[in-house]
Symmetry: C2
Subunit: 239 residues, 2 copies
Amino acid sequence: MNPVAIKVACSNCNLRELCMPLGLNKEELERIDDLVAVRRKVLRGTALFHNGETFKALYAIRTGFFKTTVTTEDGRDQVTGFQMAGEIIGLDGIVNDHHTCDAVALEDAEVCEMPFHRIEELSREVNSLQRHVHKIMSREIVREHGVMLLLGSMRAEERLAAFLLNLVQRLHARGFSQSELILRMTREEIGSYLGLKLETVSRTFSKFVDDQIVEVKQRHIRILDTEALKRIVNLQPCL
Amino acid sequence: MNPVAIKVACSNCNLRELCMPLGLNKEELERIDDLVAVRRKVLRGTALFHNGETFKALYAIRTGFFKTTVTTEDGRDQVTGFQMAGEIIGLDGIVNDHHTCDAVALEDAEVCEMPFHRIEELSREVNSLQRHVHKIMSREIVREHGVMLLLGSMRAEERLAAFLLNLVQRLHARGFSQSELILRMTREEIGSYLGLKLETVSRTFSKFVDDQIVEVKQRHIRILDTEALKRIVNLQPCL
DNA sequence: CGACACCTTGAAGAGGTTCAAGAAATGTGG
DNA sequence: CCACATTTCTTGAACCTCTTCAAGGTGTCG
């Protein structure tokens, strides 16, 4: 665990608008640069942090793709989210000074490590940073409400449709295609996130292919009919 | 919508240790008193705030019991949590300046309304308050991870057992019995929270009664065998 | 006391899981 | 670069858990 460390600057980072507040003046921007202690590379399959580890920093993803998972005493685990460039991970560690989930890179990744004590210091002085931190945490709470809704009340097809729409929407916001994507995770990981078994995920993909809603070649997905996916998500169960 | 408003002080509130940071000096305590704009009474069955309403404040529950729910376009809704005295609600509204869920009182309640701009102001100056706000939000994120685990990977009995253990533990922390509790919510609301139908909740209660794990008289629950509940939650599915 | 909301229980049915086998892709070492 | 091992994905069939539909019971409140 000796990460490659490179000194960097937010002020000329092209992801700034994703992970940092807008409308900062020059001086504030320079101070924000000091937030990032180091950049760290995280190889595919390795963890950025583990459940139980001491919490020291939040991480802004520069490149790559992560999953976060929680685990029960008896070894079951649940994927709680997939994170991509510009998103922040590590918020779970703040409460008890220890992380309560694992963050694992699903492809080679690079993150900006921002020591939390510095975030707290600086956000006392830069109001827009304070506001930003609050919004990021609130956004995560709201996202999780959505996942609870999905897990609590949707059927397999609805879950997978919602999942695909969400992924493609976030990718599109980052300049990628609205209709094509490459899944960075296995069927099993999708299933864990959606509360389904991997076979069910696979079968549901196959059903979507039959219905000509998507094309699936392994992890390469092409969405043929976005509207159909939206209809599936919003579909009233029966009446 | 013209709530009963009473001016109050945190400094002599017996719930202070639940909703406010510890170890404040006299001056800080006095300033924190100014956080609470008003107290508001919320009658059973009425909402403290609604989905879509402008976000202005966080609320600390003084007395009573709430549920929060999110709703889909097509009208399905999901209970995202039950909140009791000393807990904070409203965090969902920070991201977009609008609430994204409903908070409804399940029994007559009283809350302390804390305008969020004041919280932000004061937490720039009182470090322990800043830290406290961060922890509250992080705690909510971690709680929701737990719910995702429950919804994504547990079976009906495990869900209900986990639910009862969680409720009774929180009640115990507030000085109530470790073994007796009165449910403030219907079977349907429990079911919504746990991703089950009300009939399944009812049947699972009945099974627990058969197994002499609990006594159930409507909403009055007596836990006879806490260990059994814990075993059910931690039970490995098969192997 | 009667209306209404809430809860329980039964029987039938559906959706998802489990188990199993095979195919396709990926990685590894010679 | 190819053969082989490994991981990942797909598909089928049987099974099981939870849901749905239905009816009746219990409790509460005007």
